[in-house]
């Protein structure tokens, strides 16, 4: 199909000019920005706290645009001709990788705090140093309604879901629509190969899995008793548990597909210095600790060393992170496949 052709072309166009501008950006690093300067950050979580934290610490103001991952990415893409954001901080690494490929990110800059990164996260930093991970969380864990299912009956692994006993009782979000669902499914596809992934999800659907547009609807289906088992984003799962809902969270032994939150700077930003300050700030262990303690999406594995996760978070949580390049490359194909399932 004609899916990748236009953008591929655009990306070569764009990267041709990127070298010149990135050196320019680097040159301005030394100039000390005036206090009170503002930058605009597009993000999908932590909107309630991050602005204050940053301002308190640095004196710079954050303009925050919040939305779900898909909306933020649509905005970014639509603004391509005249970007309005300075920093993008979002938990869809493959998409940010894609942005970098099309030459929209500032490359080749290394924040001071990068030294604090855990190894697993350091491995996620791309070679061109266009974005930095600030943490990761499970894009999907297993959650079941304890009113309906006993612990013994509960699924233990991803493979369990194909069992007949869960027929018509499983709910999940639609990767074609819900942003966090893609990192979730992409790991299966990377792990099992394209065919294997299709087999697996095909079987689940045959087993009557209900596909809701987004995670909140899945959660509602679970609390309403419409489904008994759900594959839910980690934060969502813990939110339900903390709200007192009678659910149990299961981290399968083979690990949960992880979603990495990364921060990237817009290539042509006029506020490069503050933007860099902000990204560096995000990598600060203290800051990450504060996010875990105060943030709204506090269930994640921090990227910096020496930060404690939420107490009630599974200590042995294992995250499997799909390769960003691979995931980005196959994104269209996999989402297309899911969308097409809608007619089966």
């Amino acid at each position: 199909n004609g899916a990748s052709q236009p953008t591929a072309q655009a990306s070569t166009d764009a990267s041709a000019t990127s070298a010149a501008t990135s050196t320019e950006a680097a040159a301005t690093t030394d100039a000390k920005p005036a206090a009170g300067e503002e930058i605009t950050v597009y993000l999908n979580d932590f909107d309630a706290v991050i602005g204050d934290m940053f301002e308190k610490k640095t004196g710079y103001k954050l303009n925050v645009v919040v939305g779900n991952g898909a909306e933020i990415m649509s905005r970014v893409e639509a603004e391509k001709g005249n970007p309005q954001w300075d920093v993008l901080w979002i938990d869809s690494m493959p998409s940010v990788y894609g942005l970098d490929q099309s030459g929209q990110l500032l490359q080749g800059w290394t924040p001071e705090n990068v030294d604090n990164l855990k190894d697993t996260f350091e491995a996620q930093v791309p070679d061109d140093k266009s974005y930095y991970p600030t943490g990761a969380h499970a894009a999907g864990v297993l959650v079941y309604n304890t009113n309906e299912i006993s612990e013994a009956e509960a699924p233990k692994s991803w493979a369990d879901l194909t069992k007949d006993s869960y027929k018509d009782l499983i709910g999940t979000a639609d990767p074609a629509i819900a942003a966090p669902a893609y990192p979730f499914v992409s790991w299966f596809f990377e792990n099992k190969g394209m065919e294997g992934g299709q087999d697996y999800f095909g079987t689940l659907m045959q087993n009557g899995m209900r596909v809701y547009p987004k995670n909140p609807q899945v959660a509602q289906a679970l609390t309403a008793g419409e489904v008994d088992v759900a594959m839910l984003q980690e934060t969502n799962a813990y939110s339900l548990a903390n709200a007192g809902e009678p659910i149990e969270i299961i981290w399968p032994e083979e690990g949960a597909p992880g979603s990495v939150r990364v921060a990237a700077i817009q290539k042509d930003t006029k506020h490069a210095a503050v933007a860099k300050e902000f990204v560096n700030f995000l990598l600060d262990p203290e800051v990450q600790q504060q996010l875990i303690n105060e943030g709204d999406e506090s269930y994640f594995e921090p990227s910096a060393e020496g930060v404690d996760t939420k107490e009630d978070r599974e200590p042995n949580a294992k995250l499997n992170i799909a390769d960003a390049a691979w995931a980005s490359e196959h994104e269209a194909e996999i989402k297309q496949w899911f969308a097409d399932q809608a007619i089966q």
Binding site: A3, G67, A70, E71, A78, I177, A224, L240, D340
Partner: protein, 573 residues
């Protein structure tokens, strides 16, 4: 931009004629709707046009609708759903509006309120209620023991019924607005020819309202095929992709496929054009302009004891279904401590409402912003819509059909697509030098809200204007009345009810319009729907429901109060 066109109305006041008005309306619609949409659609041909590169896209994409199974299925589903809902919803809305205008019965006002509630509530909220009511262990089964409900609701026909119960307000408003005046003589003539009351209704009263009925139908149809929230949520069980689903899945992919969204939107526009042609074809051979010096404002009459009972009971049953189920469940949700534990005395709390007022809550400022935006959009939209409907109803303007189609686009095309178009159009660097780069400023939300309001306004108004014969305006023109004066003193008072309904509808719909808001809102400018959606995304269902219920309640109260204040005195007598 809107201000500019406003200026030209004032500046040319003395010289304004129907043709100039036609051009003004065309330009305004172009700016508000056509350019943004075209900007998305042009992605098919010139994908890089807004990013400083000129490449040529694959025109073959246009034909893929007939090749890609998903797209084909979406189109098919959208048509089935749209058509079924349009027919049933229009029928229900029309019958209710006529009964409401004809007879006095207890609870008539709550019917109006219910209609407003349904009209302004985002469809995903309504969906939640229906799902909660009808799932396997939902309220229908657990409380009433109606186990058949599950099977009945979760299938395409059930979806059509739910859509009908959610979308009929559009037809209701349109028809009710057109019934403000009546010419009793026409019915009398039919009765003297031997027709009984029902026959008179079927052969004279209803057909004379055909333009309003068709307007309502067009709105229901458009709103249905453009709706994503309700079908996608209700259809989770059996997968029922519609065009908006395909559009979303094209946009929420990386790399983002604006071109695909453009193609699909183009098909939505084509559907609108076909619907408009159909309406034109149906209305072509008849006339409906009945207002004369014999027209009197409609006043509901006492129905007689038996009829009153039937109406009152019917009304209650209807309200229970259309409001009780979807909104009731939101209310329940907003009152629960723990969702899973359901409706038990110990599980009840008012905490969610309390937290609405708490300091950190973004609800009140969001509501304030939303009301402001919706208010300005309603007022400006009303002016634009009045102009557009005037041109559609009375002028021989060349691009009338184009205006008609354009005036509906923003209803059917998903807000996200339009929002993206707005970004394309209003985020161009050269606009900055002119000082009108509106993207990133609250003004753009007003523009988008106006665009969103125009379909309802124009449809409701053209439906009502169809009754006003040109000769009444001609007479004013003969007295030396300028176009503005004719509209202000003759036309507007005669379609006053429609103006009020249209304005309030525009207002109400803007307050909760999420799709456009979510992609266009400026930094640090969170509006009510964005705030509510945020809470939903964070799974704070109780809080989100409380915000919806409270926000919706406030808006409906505002609407009801305005409606009562503005309504003609005689009509409420």
């Amino acid at each position: 931009m809107v201000r500019r066109s406003g200026d030209s109305i004032n500046g040319n006041m003395l010289r304004l004629n129907a043709n100039k008005l036609g051009w003004i309306v065309t330009i305004v619609l172009a700016v508000l709707v056509l350019f943004p949409l075209a900007a998305v659609i042009v992605q098919v041909l010139l994908p890089g046009i807004f990013f400083g590169s000129l490449n040529f896209g694959d025109i073959g994409l246009l034909l893929e609708l007939f090749e890609r199974p998903l797209w084909r299925k979406s189109l098919e589903n959208s048509l089935i759903l749209g058509f079924g809902t349009a027919v049933l919803g229009t029928l229900l809305g029309t019958v209710l509006a006529m009964a409401r205008m004809q007879w006095k019965f207890p609870g008539a006002r709550s019917l109006d309120a219910a209609v407003w509630v349904l009209f302004i509530m985002p469809s995903f909220i309504l969906a939640q209620g229906w799902i909660m009511f009808s799932t396997g262990n939902g309220l229908a089964a657990s409380i009433f023991g109606w186990h058949w409900v599950t099977a009945a609701v979760f299938q395409p026909a059930g979806l059509i019924v739910i859509m009908t119960l959610s979308k009929f307000p559009l037809a209701y408003l349109s028809v009710k607005a057109a019934m403000e005046w009546k010419v009793e003589m026409l019915s009398d003539a039919a009765r003297l020819c031997g027709a009984g009351p029902f026959k008179v209704w079927r052969t004279v009263q209803a057909p004379l309202l055909l333009p309003a009925i068709l307007s309502g139908m067009a709105l229901v149809f458009m709103d249905t095929i453009g709706d994503f929230g309700l079908p996608s949520a209700v259809a989770a069980v059996y997968r029922f992709p519609t065009l908006p689903y395909s559009i979303y899945s094209a946009i929420y992919t990386s790399p983002i496929r604006f071109d695909m969204a453009g193609v699909l939107s183009l098909y939505l526009v084509a559907l609108i054009a076909v619907a408009m042609l159909l309406q034109f074809w149906v209305l072509r051979r008849s006339r409906y302009d009945v207002l004369s010096g014999r027209a009197v404002p409609s006043v509901p009459k006492p129905a007689g004891r038996r009829m009153t009972w039937v109406l009152a009971v019917g009304n209650v049953v209807l309200l229970l279904a259309v409001i009780g189920i979807p909104i009731g469940s939101s209310i329940v949700t907003s009152l629960l401590k723990i969702q899973t534990n359901g409706l038990t005395a110990s599980n009840l709390t008012l905490q969610n409402y309390a937290s609405l007022l708490s300091e950190g809550s973004s609800l009140l400022p969001g509501l304030g912003r939303s009301l402001l935006i919706a208010g300005s959009a309603a007022v400006i939209g009303l002016i634009v819509g009045l102009g557009a409907s005037f041109v559609l109803s009375y002028s021989r303007f060349r691009f009338k059909r184009g205006i008609e189609t354009a005036s509906l686009i923003s209803f059917a095309v998903p807000g996200v697509v339009l929002g993206i178009g707005y970004i394309f159009v209003w985020n161009q660097p050269w606009l900055e030098s002119l000082g009108i780069r509106l993207y990133g400023k609250p003004g753009i939300l007003v523009l988008a809200a106006i665009a969103g309001a125009i379909p309802v306004i124009t449809r409701v108004m053209t439906g009502a204007m169809a009754k006003v014969p040109e000769s009444l305006l001609d007479a004013a023109q003969m007295q030396g009345g300028s176009l503005i004066s004719r509209i202000r003193h003759i036309l507007a008072p005669l379609v006053r009810g429609a103006l009020i309904s249209a304005g309030l509808a525009a207002f109400g719909a803007c307050v909760f319009d999420l799709a456009v808001n979510s992609i266009l809102f400026p930094p640090n400018f969170e509006t009510l729907p964005v705030a509510i959606d945020d809470a939903f995304e964070d799974l704070r269902f109780g809080y989100a429901s409380a915000a919806t219920v409270a926000g919706g309640g406030i808006v409906v109260c505002i609407i009801m109060i305005l409606e009562r204040l503005l309504r003609r005195k005689e009509a409420s007598a």
